[in-house]
Symmetry: C2
Subunit: 254 residues, 2 copies
């Protein structure tokens, strides 16, 4: 049985809590949050506290809070024997106090409050400073995920950047597209099968080979007609920046 | 039984051919292509021809060729009685010869040679000039798709633009991300569950609500660290253009 104290009450903390709660080899003994209200979600199934001095002993302390606050909170855990890990993609392991055994437990996924996630498919990127701690984190991660990788802090920085590219940017592009659809009085829902297919295609084709469209064909007439259709200057800029990048990738002279 | 002549041999033609071939109420009588080799794919299950003068009589002529060539080819069909349709998102109905009954049959999906598509889920956007022709196209589209909509040429122009946004741009961003992963020696495959989740989230959340990440939080430190990590100037530009657009969408002053 691996005993856990979870520190944090946001989306990542909640999704981890849900994933661990149904495992028999793991027990979340306690959840720490800055205020009582934020702990409502957890208190039915775990002890909760707002007092950092009352943190229990555990095998693993999982800090799932905003990046900026990780270092300070880890300093408060210096007297603990368990391994202290954070869940951030962009914070190095060394941000944690070196008075603790320390590690990283980074689930590479986007978590929203009202959207369940199948944790089995979520890549969990782990890092530790010695084999014993790595083995423990590997064992812990494997209870919830079938996709556990050892990733060092340098690689994780790049992965986090890559995650922003594949999640934040396409999602924002969907938002812009919804604005365009609303303006032009067509249903955004008509595009959902295309959005699904665009991501599913990557199982069979590289994104380079999967590329289609006017920019790939260097079809300047269509590109110009699309720019003319866009009323919003910011949308025009995104269209032309990305189209130029596609044209360049496929060897067209600009 | 609706009898079809298919004109064109590219990806759209092939996917339509596959989808219609398994329907009992539809028969593709003939496929026209510019050269014999391009017709290999079709000749086992249909008559094929490279001679536009030998086109048979049919209920519907489906022109699935490159946008620029549609008008010219439609002029060659002027003596035909069936309805002539094209499959393009960006070409108006009026590009077809007005000596024919004419319409549009636009499947809103991305088609690649080596990727099967479940046509049932593909929105088919149809347009015609009278109720009888619309009913025929509706009947034809409904044999292969459960998602048929009447969309006029003006709306279709906007939909095609929207399709470029949600397909071409995210796919190119995946390509850039793969380049970054290759450079930084991390596996692009680790990102695939995140890519899938990003599109699946749209079933439950609007893209505006689903947005996460440093730009949404206006986390300038992380944005700067990401820009520093990017070696490629073009990648930096895409990162900063999209991040600024996200910051603006969530009301941050730039």
């Amino acid at each position: 049985m691996i005993r856990i104290v979870l520190l944090g009450t946001g989306n990542v903390a909640k999704h981890l809590f849900d994933a661990f709660s149904i495992q028999k080899d793991v027990k979340i003994d306690q959840v720490y949050g800055r205020n009582q209200k934020s702990l409502d979600f957890f208190k039915k199934e775990a002890t909760v506290t707002t007092d950092i001095k009352k943190i229990k002993d555990a095998d693993v302390y999982i800090i799932a809070i905003s990046d900026d606050a990780i270092e300070k909170l880890s300093n408060e855990l210096e007297n603990k024997k368990g391994i202290v890990v954070h869940t951030s993609g962009s914070v190095p392991l060394t941000a944690l106090s070196n008075k603790n055994r320390r590690g990283v437990f980074y689930p590479l996924q986007t978590f929203s409050l009202n959207k369940k996630v199948d944790f089995k498919m979520v890549p969990v990127c782990i890092e530790a400073e010695n084999e014993g701690d790595y083995a423990l984190l590997n064992q812990l991660a494997s209870t919830i995920s079938e996709n556990v990788s050892g990733i060092d802090s340098e690689q994780r920085k790049s992965l986090h950047l890559a995650a922003v590219f594949v999640n934040n940017f396409p999602n924002h592009i969907y938002h812009i597209t919804k604005e365009i659809c609303d303006e032009k009085n067509v249903s955004f829902d008509l595009l959902k099968p295309l959005i699904t297919e665009t991501s599913e295609k990557l199982e069979e084709l590289s994104p380079y080979d999967a590329q289609t469209g006017p920019a790939r064909r260097n079809d300047l007439g269509t590109i110009q007609r699309h720019l003319d259709l866009l009323d919003n200057k910011a949308h025009k800029k995104i269209y032309s920046t990305l189209s130029k990048s596609i044209q360049k990738a496929y060897g067209k002279k600009l």
